[in-house]
């Protein structure tokens, strides 16, 4: 694996690796979440970091980035000791960080977000922002991530995927030597992901070190030179990517192999009753004449490019956004005045794609979050006492069924859970209700393979018990793996439909893109 060029590069750096991390430990409230993590990163290389949800990946990176002080352990850059007190010092030492939870300011423009670390000035003594230069630089960065937006646009108008690209552009803006990507592809479609991979290759070629955290093991193997595996805060594996397969990785991550990522499709064909019946749903400028059905026991996927209107469709279905015309029926009953409450009463559930904004009460504990949606079902008046014991029991049950990793289900705020575990909390909230129709928008965003397999299993079980499931996902493999049928959307319309076993990756993507190109 070590070519002549590589060894030359390390010699230039005086033999010391670009980044060396040794024996990192970290405890929160007496719970040790990192138990001695060590690895090295060479210039011009990419290091993959994988591990289950809550295994300590983000925590490690937060330490490297100066956001958290380690309880023990040392770090060195170019052989010189490195102990950043805050992210500014980390940036000065040449570290750029793309956070798992996006860290953009919605009330500022894209250009401002990109320049926030160091606003350009025209006159050095006058603290006046050189807006022209700021804009030009932003435009340049946006071009590098292939994002066709005005730098003056406020970030609150961007879709999640677009935000993620801006976040990546931000990391490119400084003259970083080490770039950390913490699950960068969670809201990217495959096309943007490809673009990102090319970018990573470029960065490596320019001699930068890249740390790449992801739950998509194929990507990790493709991009990285070495892979470090964490389990429960301990480093269990560290080897060259060329020497392993995804199967190996999964096993070292979970401590056990998984038989199948995707659950077997049930032998019995979906039942014939209609669970969800959507007719002529139209909202000018957003969606046009959506008509489709989901049978009981069926899992239907919606594929499409970023901005194709899939999330909007889900929001309209669930009564969060208005529609001009069209009807939605659950189990044969049309929901008259669609509102989240009415939809829930009719048996719908909706897992949103923005877990922090729409999904969680961040300062509250896991149980409180999980119980929230259940409260609307208690068919008593709001001032009647809660059956607290029953709620807690069911909620803990649901939390256990998705294997939420938290040291205290009641007191630990979900804010401090790992990203993947936060997603599981939202999922548990809806599983608790045994919905008749379950809409999932990007359900496995940020979730590890083991948990993914569990979630797919849970969704399949739900379907087998008669729920109609609608899955929106940007991971086409996921749709291929779990869905009985896939609808493809483009520009707010359904443009194609595929039924298992005729699901075909290329055909789905082609359908999603054709219209796009045609309209452009």
């Amino acid at each position: 694996m070590s070519s002549a060029r590589d060894s030359a590069a390390s010699e230039r750096a005086g033999g010391a690796p670009l980044l060396k991390v040794e024996g990192l430990r970290k405890s929160f409230f007496g719970v040790e979440v990192l138990k001695g993590v060590s690895f090295t990163l060479e210039a011009g290389k990419a290091l993959g970091v994988i591990g289950e949800n809550g295994s300590g990946k983000s925590t490690t990176m937060n330490i490297i980035n100066g956001l958290l002080p380690p309880s023990a352990g040392t770090m060195a850059i170019d052989g010189r000791p490195y102990a950043p007190a805050n992210s500014k010092e980390a940036a000065r030492a040449g570290i750029a960080f793309i956070h798992q939870e996006l860290n953009l300011f919605e009330n500022l423009s894209i250009a401002e977000n990109l320049a926030l670390q160091a606003f350009p000035r025209r006159i050095s003594w006058l603290p006046q922002i050189d807006k022209a230069r700021m804009r030009a630089r932003a435009a340049d960065l946006l071009r590098r991530v292939d994002l066709d937006l005005s730098p003056d646009m406020l970030v609150n108008r961007l879709a999640p995927g677009e935000r993620q690209l801006v976040e990546i552009a931000k990391a490119l803006s400084g003259d970083a030597r080490i770039i950390v990507f913490d699950e960068p592809t969670t809201s990217l479609t495959s096309r943007e992901a490809e673009r990102l991979f090319a970018l990573v290759a470029q960065l490596k070629a320019r001699g930068l070190g890249v740390i790449y955290i992801s739950h998509i093991l194929e990507d990790v193997l493709r991009l990285c030179d070495d892979v470090v595996t964490l389990r429960d805060g301990t480093m269990v594996d560290n080897r060259p990517a060329a020497s392993v397969t995804t199967g190996h990785l999964i096993e070292s991550m979970l401590g056990r192999p998984i038989a199948e990522l995707f659950p077997p499709r049930s032998a019995a064909a979906p039942r014939q009753e209609v669970a969800l019946d959507v007719r002529g749903l139209t909202q000018p400028g957003i969606v046009h004449d959506l008509t489709f059905r989901v049978m009981r026991g069926e899992i239907v996927g919606i594929a499409g490019l970023m901005g194709s209107g899939r999330s909007e469709t889900a929001r309209i279905l669930f009564g969060l956004d208005p529609a001009l015309s069209g009807t939605v029926a659950v189990n044969g009953t049309v929901i008259a005045q669609r509102s989240p409450r009415a939809c829930m009463a009719a048996g719908m559930a909706f897992l949103t794609e923005d877990r922090r904004g729409d999904g969680l009460l961040l300062p509250e504990g896991v149980l409180t979050n999980v119980e929230l949606a259940r409260l609307a079902d208690l068919r008593t008046n709001a001032a009647a006492p809660l059956p607290q014991a029953m709620l807690d029991r069911d909620a803990s049950e649901a939390a256990r069924s998705v294997r939420i990793k938290a040291h205290d289900l009641v007191r630990q705020p979900v804010l401090s859970l790992s990203g993947g575990n936060q997603q599981k909390v939202v999922l548990a909230k809806w599983l608790l209700r045994e919905p008749a129709v379950f809409i999932l928008d990007e359900p496995t965003r940020g979730i590890d393979v083991g948990a993914k397999a569990e979630i797919y299993g849970l969704v399949r079980q739900l379907a087998e018990r008669g729920t109609g499931v609608l899955v929106i996902s940007s991971e086409v493999e996921e749709l291929l793996g779990v869905c009985d049928r896939v609808l493809t959307m483009a520009h707010g319309e359904i443009v194609a439909e595929f039924t298992w076993p005729e699901l075909d990756r290329a055909a789905i993507l082609r359908a999603a893109m054709q219209r796009q190109e045609g309209a452009a």
């Binding site: 949103t352 729409d358 300062p363 929230l372 006492p385 809660l386």
Partner: protein, 330 residues
Amino acid sequence: MWRFLRRLLTSEYLVLLLTALYVLCLWPFAPEIVSAQTALEVIMAMLPLLLLAIGQTFVLIVAGIDLSITSTMAFSSVVAAALMTGDGGYLAGNALAVPVALIAFLLIGLAVGCANGLCVVRLGMPSFMVTLVAQTFLSGAAIWFTSLHSTSVSIGDLPAAFSVIGRGGIAGIPYALLLCLVVAFAAHWLLGRTTLGRWLYAVGNNPRAATVSGVPTGRVIIIAFVLSGFCAALASIVYTSRLETGTPVLGQRVLLDVIGAAVIGGVSLFGGRGKISWVILGVLFLSVVDKGLQLLGLSQSIVFAVKGGVILLAAIIDALRSRILVRVAA
């Protein structure tokens, strides 16, 4: 001993400790402060404040603020007084005067709360402005209303059956105290044990997530304002009957005390956090501070300075406490 102190310092009832400390400090200078009489008077003084603070807590929990409580009190006070005053009241001498007046109090409180809530929810106006407008409007309206019903600036001569609410009691327990206990327990129960309570916190924490989870967000916010208006009306009954007078400037100055007491107790101005027990302690603290200062009979400048200093000190100790908490946990 040291550990006990640390336990006290880190408990959520720290404010209580501070109150006791304050009393100890004042004891040598105003021995009356440790007496049954003082205790009773402090309790009587804090009751209406507590009612107001409880109402305010509901609104603070949903991340709103209600500045209109004082003028709701003033307005309901003069309207109800105009109904029952012996001095040319609409129902002067009528046996129904007192019940009707009580209903008037409550209706006004509910109506103001409802109007505030509707403006915030249906019209999407910020609660600070809505309730500030209500505050200006109602206080102006109360003064005007009084000028139409009285030659002086207040309406007195209220029936004895009404003023007994402020003075009388059952078996030595004042009615006002009973009322307050009932309200406090109800509020505590509502927040901690019912669906509505959960919804209130959820809406204050993250209204979007609450909506998606099927919480009737708008209705919950309206209810919070209605409860606040209702509590203001109850406080107004206590004040008005104690003073035996309906006055349009009733409680004009207590607004910051009420919000301050809630915040000192630990209620967040940004929503989602607060408990009735905390609020009680916050109100108790401010009431005891006031009582102590009254007993000392000091000049106004020193009263102000001491009051501010004590609040600041309480806040500093609280800040230290959270630091210790973090250190203990780490």
